[in-house]
Symmetry: C2
Subunit: 311 residues, 2 copies
């Protein structure tokens, strides 16, 4: 069955808000990477409004899933409809902890207003699967009020999430080795807000102070970024966080920042798509006796042929 | 002055082994990224032999620079000529520690047989500057017996080094938070050998045991990878490491593995080059009202024009 046929079978129920049709639509997009953008263009014609996308990232053990649960429960209780995308890490080492997280998320997954989708990041160059961009668009078309992305922060995905989410929160915990992470290149720079979770731990205050000092050492823009002291499991500080996220989004909307971020995201997606085509060609060709320049010419020639065939 | 003119001015002295001409040749390649491959092709006509490339990576504080110093001193004392490429991290947070490393490297930098070049990784997508590939080729043409690359392991560069170096060593230390790193996705998988440095520390044995157990949990190929217990500052275990690196390289040569790695590297360089051109185009174009597919078509069209102009 072509994607058009499958699409037609589910689109009515999809726009009526039936969850089974949402799940099928996401699968359709995941299974047809080459047609995904055509499906999304079709969906977009019926998309009523843009939904804010919020990304939560941080080290394993920082309590991201607990925080996302608390935050999402709060919104669901106000009858907001929330889509959650949980990105699985590829490493078998962290798989165990992650399954634990999924169990902690059970309470929100039993709410009528919440839909959770797990996505494997396996095999993706950027750490986050390209399909996440597409899934966000499907969720927007479905009419969610907000879309939440949770990534187990392992390397590149922390950086990549900036491009997927409108707002990025870095979740840290005083007991998970984050003192080291804190100084790692690239990680501090990406967040709009910092959440110090498990604020009831004895070492939490010292951790917070250190974080604020570290941020103050940086340039003006960054030091203005917000630090939240939270205990997700005890529901301390989550409401303040929720309020700030909404305010931050409307500030971005009025300042035009959100437009810049959308533009950056679209460029990123196109780049990612072009690279995928290029990578397929590169891996299928033998280098042989070609020099760097000769092999490059070969790839470019093949690439031009490929793109010419794509309508 | 064109690159040809500059090249002609220094090439005689370069092939006579004059260090000033090597430094100038590297700068020439760095300053002319668009002509770098042409310069390298010209150099290659006079390159007598391939030199093994050994990469050392690992977290800040693991003692990489001390280890590289000890290893390189050992080879220099046997009258081998060694080129060292030290990759600076981009983050201002780690800059301080890095300057300290450079000072520790002073003893080898005063040897006649050693040439050290620092390279900034700033601005590079992959974490390691593309120019490093080119610099390695220039060093090979110069006639070094071995080329050493040291990267301060910060994220992506740990993965990238696999493509630049023939042999990759992951340097760890029991006192630098590496217990956490150990389980991080992607980092364990890249190394051919693991060096537990500062083996004289009290916690070193427990760390070694844990590392060996972690490796044993993985599949057969990985568990065969070598673990070295070393104290770089006390010169313990460095000679064994040196011997193994040479044996490993000659094993790779006879098994054909080295050919595979060279092929992979060439593909990587071509990919990186193509992406750079593509990124320049993407960042210079406005998205405007274009959809994903329309913007992609725009980029591909520009790209094809660009490549057509390149001889």
């Amino acid at each position: 069955m072509s994607w058009e046929q499958q699409y037609n079978l589910i689109s009515d129920d999809f726009f009526k808000g039936r969850i089974y049709a949402l799940a099928k639509m996401i699968t359709l997009v995941e299974n047809n990477p080459d047609s995904a953008w055509k499906i999304i263009e079709t969906l977009k014609k019926n998309t009523l409004r843009d939904a804010p996308t919020v990304g939560f990232t941080g080290s394993p053990g920082a309590g991201k899933s607990t925080l996302v649960s608390a935050y999402v429960s709060m919104m669901a209780a106000k009858n907001q409809k929330i889509g959650v995308i949980a990105v699985d890490p590829s490493s078998p080492f962290t798989m165990g902890a992650f399954l634990g997280d999924r169990i902690r998320m059970r309470d929100i997954s039993e709410s009528e207003n919440v839909y959770i989708r797990s996505v494997a990041s396996r095999g993706s160059v950027g750490g986050l699967c390209d399909a996440i961009y597409d899934i966000v668009d499907v969720m927007k078309a479905f009419g969610f009020d907000k879309i939440i992305i949770e990534t187990v922060g392992a390397g590149q995905s922390e950086i990549e999430i900036v491009y997927v989410a409108d707002t990025v929160l870095l979740v840290m915990s005083p007991d998970s080795g984050d003192e080291i992470q804190m100084f790692k290149a690239g990680i501090m720079e990406i967040a709009d807000g910092y959440v110090v979770n498990k604020i009831d731990l004895p070492q939490a205050n010292a951790f917070s102070v250190k974080l604020r000092n570290t941020l103050a050492l940086e340039n003006d823009v960054k030091s203005k970024r917000k630090v939240f002291e939270v205990s997700a499991s005890k529901n301390i500080g989550v409401e303040e966080l929720e309020k700030w996220i909404d305010e931050f989004y409307s500030d971005m909307s009025s300042s035009g920042e959100i437009f810049k971020r959308h533009e950056r995201r679209l460029k990123r997606r196109v780049r990612s798509n072009l690279m995928r085509v290029m990578d397929d060609i590169i891996s299928s060709q033998e280098v042989g006796k070609n020099s760097l320049r000769e092999f490059k010419s070969l790839i470019v020639k093949k690439y031009i042929q490929e793109e010419a065939c794509d309508d």
